[in-house]
């Protein structure tokens, strides 16, 4: 009978790059990179690409010659594929624990409380099963708290002897790791916090674990105090059943090329509004206020950036109403003579739909709007995102992001399924 309850974090190695290798077995073991929206930056690299010295978040144009020289396979982001593969990984992982939390597209926490099996063997079984069923390589970190499990996972990745698994089930094991990691590697501790901790002579993770939690709480915040407890094997961050509803919903994108006229910006804004409104309806909220912004490139002279908030006529989740308000906002802040790089919309004051009551004196969303939005969402869900959208998005989206290296959506479009030569 295990004395300390353990939990695991399982995460995909080089997730997007690995996704691109699933249906391209000839690319396994080869350098692969994936570019961000707009083919702007390198956002994922396979192990072999990392070994070539290609660093994370490098602008594509800067590393292009290096990529071509080494015959690196280049891909644009293929979110339909990554989303589907992620679902498959999560589904496969669920069989290993009754209590799980999807943390991000490539990470899941699993509750190991009550597990009788040997932790190392079980973790290896998880790795082998995910590889067998989905062809995704994963790393497994096991520890008594989320913070320690994340560190264990980090060790699992860096140290070849573990073979992608690291179990920190005893204090001497995790203390060995804490002494060898800088405090910035700890979950929740960024550069800024690290600088402030240095003032207290806290440099590595072990220093933080041994710091006085009450003093730290007084000078920083309660989460750092919890982190200290977690570094000592005391779990404070529980596995969450459901992700909390977002308090603000933003949709922001850079344009494929710089825009100088207001019309294409309004078209792009209609798309961002549609996306944000879909998320709003999904979490059953209504918006009271929106925030819109546009700006030019901060790397070019003549920088212009402006934003404004617009109050909606009544609490709503209707794309058309929000779109109208966003249009007004853009008209208000747009200035000609500038080359705009990016725009975005945020739905910032949200209320829960079920808690909101309309009455004779408080104008509200007509039931017809509810029905229309319902149908639009249903059709978009069944037949493909964006099939039903506002005409104001425009037909020839000249501003849509660049994607020159997209792979097929192998698992979600009939036209894209792999062809096998027999």
């Amino acid at each position: 009978m295990r004395l300390i309850a353990m939990l695991a974090i399982v995460d995909c190695n080089s997730c997007y790059a690995s996704c691109e290798q699933i249906f391209r077995p000839e690319l396994r073991g080869k350098p692969v990179v994936v570019l961000s929206n707009n083919d702007g930056f390198v956002v994922a690299r396979s192990k072999e690409a990392k070994a070539l010295g290609i660093e994370d978040l490098q602008p594509f144009f800067k590393v292009e010659h290096l990529l071509r020289k080494h015959n690196v396979a280049i891909f644009s982001s293929n979110y339909p594929l990554y989303g589907d593969i992620s679902n498959r990984v999560m589904t496969t992982l669920r069989q290993f624990s009754p209590n799980v939390e999807i943390y991000s597209i490539d990470e899941m926490f699993l509750d190991f409380d009550g597990l009788q099996e040997d932790l190392n063997e079980y973790s290896h079984l998880i790795k082998q099963t995910v590889w067998r069923d989905v062809r995704m390589p994963v790393g497994v970190g096991v520890a008594p708290s989320k913070t320690l499990a994340k560190l264990a996972n980090h060790v699992a990745k860096k140290h070849r002897q573990g073979n992608g698994v690291c179990v920190l089930d005893k204090p001497h094991k995790w203390e060995w790791v804490l002494r060898r990691l800088p405090v910035t590697k700890v979950w929740g501790i960024g550069k800024r916090l690290a600088q402030r901790l240095a003032e207290f002579n806290i440099y590595n993770a072990y220093d933080l674990a041994k710091a006085n939690p009450k003093i730290i709480r007084r000078h920083m915040n309660v989460n750092v105090e919890r982190t200290i407890k977690e570094l000592n094997g005391i779990p404070c961050f529980a596995l969450e059943e459901l992700p909390p509803a977002k308090k603000q919903i933003y949709c922001t994108r850079g344009f494929g090329h710089k825009l100088t006229e207001i019309e294409p910006i309004q078209q792009a804004m209609s798309l961002y509004v549609r996306r944000a409104a879909e998320k709003l309806r999904k979490q059953n909220h209504l918006a009271l206020t929106i925030h819109v912004f546009i700006h030019t490139s901060p790397f070019e002279p003549n920088y212009y950036s402006n934003s404004t908030t617009v109050k909606l006529p009544y609490p709503t989740d209707d794309t058309r109403i929000i779109n109208q308000a966003a249009k007004q906002g853009i008209e208000h802040i747009f200035k000609s003579g500038y080359r705009y790089l990016k725009a975005g919309v945020g739905l910032i004051e949200l209320v829960d739909k079920k808690h909101f009551q309309f009455d004779l004196w408080h104008k509200g969303q007509p039931i017809k709007s509810d029905h229309l939005m319902n149908i639009v969402d249903k059709v978009n869900r069944t037949h493909g995102k964006g099939i039903v959208h506002l005409a104001s998005e425009g037909f020839h989206k000249k501003w849509y992001m660049r994607q020159n290296f997209t792979s097929p959506a192998y698992t979600s479009r009939w036209s894209d399924i792999p062809i096998i030569f027999c």
Binding site: T91, D133, G384
Partner: protein, 143 residues
């Protein structure tokens, strides 16, 4: 008009919705109402491990003698353990193909006498990508 085909996971809920013979609540109910079973769901029949299952399209004739025809749809399951005489998607030296596995003689067999067996040599980077559990040949429309 082109209809977008539902993906496997969506169809799972669409096809099994039970229905009633009589639409109108008033009047005589159908004697069968109490005995109606759920509709037959092809996904349930065909797919055992959804997370490990994917589809692909066949191009070529080397497996025609067991009914895997050029242009047909294959349902491949990675979670099934390949055994002797399994139809598998195999990777040899980076190339994926569909063949029958012969573990006794360590080779891959075609189902077409114009194709010779392919030996699986030690250095050929051989890997099974999944077991073909169904082949769907369509006789109407674009397959």
């Amino acid at each position: 008009m082109s209809i977008r085909i539902l993906s496997a996971h969506e169809a799972r809920t669409a096809l099994w919705a039970p229905y009633f013979i009589s639409k109108v609540p008033a009047g005589f109910p159908s004697p069968a109402d109490d005995y109606m079973e759920q509709g037959l769901d092809l996904n349930e029949y065909l797919i055992q491990h959804p997370a490990a299952t994917f589809y692909c399209r066949v191009s070529g004739h080397s497996m025609k003698d067991i009914g895997i025809m050029d242009g047909c749809l294959l349902i491949v399951d990675r979670a099934v353990e390949p055994a002797n005489r399994s139809i598998v998607l195999a990777v040899i030296d980076g190339e994926i193909t569909c063949k029958m596995l012969d573990t006794n003689q360590q080779r891959l067999l075609s189902a077409n006498n114009q194709y010779a067996p392919t030996p699986i040599s030690a250095g050929s980077n051989f890997e099974v990508e999944g077991v073909v559990i169904h082949a769907i040949n369509s006789y109407v429309g674009n397959c």
